[in-house]
Each structure stands twice: as structure tokens, then as C-alpha cells.
Amino acid sequence: MLTFTIRRLILSIPTLLFISLVIFLLMELAPGDPMAQVPLTVPPEVKEKMREALGLGQPGYIRYLKWLYQFFVIEPMVFWDYLWGTAHTEGVQRVISWQTRSPVMDIVIQRMPQTLWVVGMAYIVGILIALPIGVYSAYRQYSVFDQAGTFVSMIGFSIPPFFTGPLLIVLFSVQLGWFPSIYDTTHVVTDWASFKVQFLQMIMPVMVLALQTTAQISRYMRASMLENLNQDYVRTARAKGLSEAVVVMVHVLRNSMIPVVTVIALGMPAIFGGAIITENVFKVNGIGQLLLTALFANDIPMVLTLTFIFAILIVVFNLIADILYGVLDPRIRYD
């Protein structure tokens, strides 16, 4: 298992390098000049100087290697300095956003908590709803509950978040006035009343994201449970007189969770992608919204870094899913 993990870790380095190259080349090939907004009265030699100040003077491969160096060496060192108060990176060039002229990673760190709160909470809520639904609809296959569950998850698959979002806003914040329609990220939780405000404003974005998670995971849970319920070991467990609750909740559930756990790990990056839309609907200023604004402002370093962070998330969670599968299922041996 350890050798497998190490091998996969080493294999993920070329994958990440390839992805970063693809993203970089995409930006490189794309037309669009960061100097397009500069007035025409600015003389060309000044424009050339501004270009060099943005780091655009060198050929592409040098900029790519520099960006790689900054992302993989300098930024972790900055983080190290921040953690331990050392000063290894004094005066070193970091990845600078063209919009704000400040380091990209600083802005990302500022935006990350909002995304993590909403996305993470949505994922947990979605899983907590999905698992019991999946278990029960498999246990009572073709019952009314199962049919209803199938229908609801079909709807969850089909209604896009950019429709459920406005729908919930009209229903709950305009008609009923229960929840605020805009997520206020400056809100600080200090006491019970402010916690309640935070809770209320999180409900709608979490619900929108959780609907999709629930739809997907409850289907997987149901399929996995159905597969296990007809196995011989279940009959054995019943035959030796175990109660139905123990048979289903301990024997069957534990075995059915194996594929579901990997699906949960694999779905994590996708929900970050889906958060781009949800953040746009509820005006959450997380990293999805940051990506959108950076795109419209033609802020290449920011877009490059953010897209690459999404890529790292995917690769890391794929790795986690593979390892979890091997750890949880003793029948799977990678060596």
C-alpha cells in the first residue's frame, strides 16, 4: 500500500506539470493584450516598459518556468515564513495579480474561507441527507419512498444550480422573507444572535449545492446497497439470528460504503467547480467569483494560478479516492 501511494504521488507530478502546461499554453495562444486598456496617447516605448514590468518581456518558456518556480518554490516558502515568522522570502518576486498588483496567493487565501465554508458545509449536508435516503430506498426497493427518491434525484440531476438559486431567492427571500438573498462575507460570528444570522444566510447556497450532491450520492448508495443485500453473507448473518438492524446497518452498510466513499472523494473537486455558479448567484466572494472577475479583467496570472489550484484539487482527490479504495477494501491489492 505504501509503495502504491508513493508511486501514485510520483506519477501525479508529471500529470500536474502537463495540466499546468496546457493551462499556460491556452493563455499564451489566446489573443488579448493586457495593454489594451492603456490609452492610445501613451507612447509605444512606454508601453513596452509597462509590458516588461508585468513580466511579459521574456519568451513564453521562460515565463512558464518562472511561474512554476514561483508557484512551487516561492509560495510555499512564503507560507512557511508566515507560519514560523522567518524571513527567507524577503524581497523575492511572487506571482503578482495584474488587477491589484498584489500577490495572487494572498488574495486566494483571503477568499478561500468563504468558499470552503459554503462548499464544505454543502457537501457535508448533502452527504448526510443522501446516505439515509440511499440506504432506505435500497432496503425497500420499488416502494413509494424509493420511487419518490428516484424522482427527486432525477430532478436534482436535471435542474441546474443557476435556476434553483434564483428560484430559492424568489421563494424564500422575496416572498417569505426568511433568508437574506446575498451572502454577507464581512459578517463576524461573536454571539448567538450573529451565529443565527450566519446560519440563515448559509442555508440557501448550501441547499443549492447540496441538492446536486444528494442526488448523485444517494443513487450510488442505493446501487451499492442493492448489490450487497443479495450477497450470501447477508443470508448467513440473518440465519445466525442477528437482528435486522444489525444486519443492515452494520454488515451491509459497511460493505456498501466502500465504493460510496470513493465517489464522495471524487465528487469533491466537481463541487468546487459548481460553486463558481452558486457563488455568482448568491454573491459570495469566494474563489469562484474571484476566477470570474479575473477572467473578465484579463488578469492572466490570477486565472492561471486559480485554474491550476482547481487542477491540484482534482488530482489530489483522485489520489485520495484510489488510496481509500485500497485501504477500505482488503480484496483490492495494488501491488
Binding site: P31, M154, P160, L167, V170, G273, N280, L306
Partner: protein, 324 residues
């Protein structure tokens, strides 16, 4: 040696008349498909909405772009049921928007674009996916490199990359093909090259299993060339997984296009699609909720019906389930 002589050898060798006419495979599939109510409804709705957007402009001949500022903000006709003071008009059954453009005509035009993007992207993705799947399943030498490539593409962050690609490549394609065609080519192309991977994996798996069967061996032994084996023997046998992934692809393509339009990187603003109409009406949705609801419901129902269709097709095309 006495009794057997009585038997008529000719009659014994004759085939018996079949008691009933043979059933074709597709009739079985249709019978199973008909049992799945959701799939039947889904298929029916998909046909209906396709006919609606194809023939709609000939029946409802209003120009979707025509500004009619006197008749702006007309509510849909059904608003009259609960609010008799509402500004409704029989000539504007779905109402008009804030510039007086007819909503029904816009829904038809927008649906045309959304469905056209969906179908075109799905067909393209299916073609690429099947090609790569067949190549890597049939030719062992290509398998490693093609599947590595598929894995790499699968680990790309697709929605961010879609956004990046659409924003960055908008200008040159518009210049090359005109504002609307350029955007159409760009969106279809980009959705297709980011959604072929699942099809490729499924097709490869099926081909790997089929390739070892005796009928392929027989075909090879009489000297059939690989191209003919693939087109005559392999592809017809993997039609069912391809069709199921086609329905999934259609649903994803429609949703992706709407999401791009919603985020403001899709078609130009005077070119309606369902996602764009939804996005444009979100700021005033408290006064005019129907302008969000109509395109939203259209997208959701189309995708829902496509998903149900896929579900029914999967059941109908799987011979192990079909007997039940």
C-alpha cells in the same frame, strides 16, 4: 430394425414451420422501452420541444428582436387568472420583456440555439469519444498512450477551463465566422472537447470484451481488414452503450451551454438562448418572476426528459433486463 423403417426420413429432416413470426430485436427493445413510463414521457417531450423550436417560427411569426416599447413589460396571459388588473394581451401569450420583445418568440429562438448547441456538441463529443475508445480498445499499441491521455484530460478542471477558453478565444472566432456563428462554433467545439472522455472509456471497455469473442476471431480468420471488423462487427454491437452516453452527453451539453450563457461568457447579448434569457431576467425577478421561470423550466424539463430517456434506453437496450 423394424420400427425405424416406418419413419419418414425426409419429413424428419424438414424444418418445422415456425409457430409465430420471428421478433426483431428492435421490436423487443421498443416493447421494453414502452413499459418505462418516464422514458416514454421523456422521449415524447424531447420530440415535442424539438418540433416546437423547429417549426415554432413558422407558426408564431413575430420577430424576437423587434422592439415594441409601447408594449413593454406585458405579463403572461395566465397572470390574468389571479390578477385581473395585470397588463396582459392575447397577442403576447408569454408577455414581453423590458424592451417589449415578445417572450414566446424569444423562447422559440433561444430554444433553437440551446438545442442546436446541445445536439451538435453531443454528436461531436460522441464521435471523438467513440473514435478514441475504438482505437484504444482495438489496437493494443495505441491503448496505453490514448488512455493516459484520457486520464489527463479527465483531471483537467473543466468548468474553469471552459470559462477561460470561451473568454479568451471569443474575439478571433467572431472575426472569422461572424458574431453568432463564431460563438456557436466555439461553444460547440469547447463543450465537445471537454466531454468525450466518458464515452471513450465506456467504448474501450466494451471493445476490449467483444474483441476476444469467437465471431471476431471468425471474421479475422477469413481475412477481414480491421476497418471492416470495426464497422461491420464491433460498432453495431456497442450501439446501446453509445446511445445511453449520447443522452447523458446531450443533457450535459445543454446545461453547460446554459451555465456559460448565465455567467455571461456565452452568446452575444442580442442573441437569445435559454440560459441567457434566465441570466438577463434575474435582476428584475421579484417583479417579473415568469421571465426567470419560463426559460428555467424549459431547460430543466428538457434535461429531465433527456435523463429519463437515457434511463429507459439503458433498460431497454440491456438484454439481461429486457426479459423481465
Amino acid at each position: 430394425m423394424t420400427d425405424t423403417a416406418q419413419l419418414d426420413p425426409i419429413a424428419a429432416l424438414k424444418d418445422k414451420e415456425p409457430s409465430k413470426p420471428p421478433r426483431s430485436q428492435w421490436k423487443d427493445v421498443w416493447d421494453q422501452f414502452r413499459k418505462h413510463k418516464g422514458a416514454l414521457f421523456g422521449g415524447g417531450f424531447l420530440v415535442f420541444i424539438t418540433l416546437f423550436v423547429i417549426f415554432g417560427p413558422y407558426v408564431w411569426q413575430l420577430d424576437p428582436q423587434k422592439l415594441d416599447i409601447r408594449n413593454k413589460d406585458v405579463r403572461p396571459i395566465y397572470t390574468w387568472l389571479w390578477d385581473s388588473d395585470a397588463k396582459v394581451s392575447w397577442t403576447r401569450p408569454f408577455g414581453t420583456d423590458n424592451l417589449g420583445r415578445d417572450m414566446l418568440a424569444n423562447m422559440i429562438k433561444g430554444g433553437r440555439t440551446s438545442l442546436a448547441v446541445g445536439w451538435a456538441a453531443m454528436v461531436l463529443a460522441l464521435f471523438v469519444g467513440t473514435l478514441i475508445g475504438v482505437l484504444s480498445g482495438y489496437f493494443k499499441r495505441l491503448d496505453g498512450i490514448l488512455m493516459r491521455f484520457t486520464d489527463l484530460v479527465l483531471s483537467l478542471p473543466l468548468l474553469p477551463l471552459l470559462l477561460v477558453a470561451v473568454t479568451l478565444f471569443r474575439q478571433p472566432l467572431r472575426a472569422a465566422f461572424g458574431p453568432e456563428q463564431g460563438m456557436f462554433v466555439l461553444i460547440v467545439g469547447i463543450i465537445a472537447i471537454t466531454s468525450w472522455m466518458q464515452t471513450a472509456r465506456i467504448v474501450r471497455g466494451e471493445i476490449l470484451a467483444l474483441k476476444e469473442r469467437e465471431f471476431i476471431l471468425a471474421a479475422r480468420s477469413i481475412g477481414t481488414i480491421p476497418y471492416k471488423i470495426i464497422t461491420r462487427h464491433l460498432l453495431p454491437n456497442i450501439m446501446s452503450p453509445i446511445m445511453v452516453s449520447a443522452t447523458l452527453g446531450l443533457a450535459t451539453a445543454i446545461i453547460t451551454e446554459s451555465a456559460l450563457s448565465f455567467l455571461g461568457v456565452g452568446f452575444p447579448s442580442d442573441f437569445p438562448t435559454w440560459g441567457k434569457m434566465l441570466a438577463d431576467s434575474v435582476p428584475r425577478m421579484t417583479e417579473y418572476p415568469e421571465r426567470v421561470m419560463l426559460p428555467g423550466i424549459a431547460i430543466s424539463l428538457t434535461v429531465l426528459s433527456v435523463n429519463y430517456l437515457g434511463d429507459g434506453l439503458r433498460d431497454a437496450l440491456d438484454p439481461r433486463i429486457r426479459g423481465r
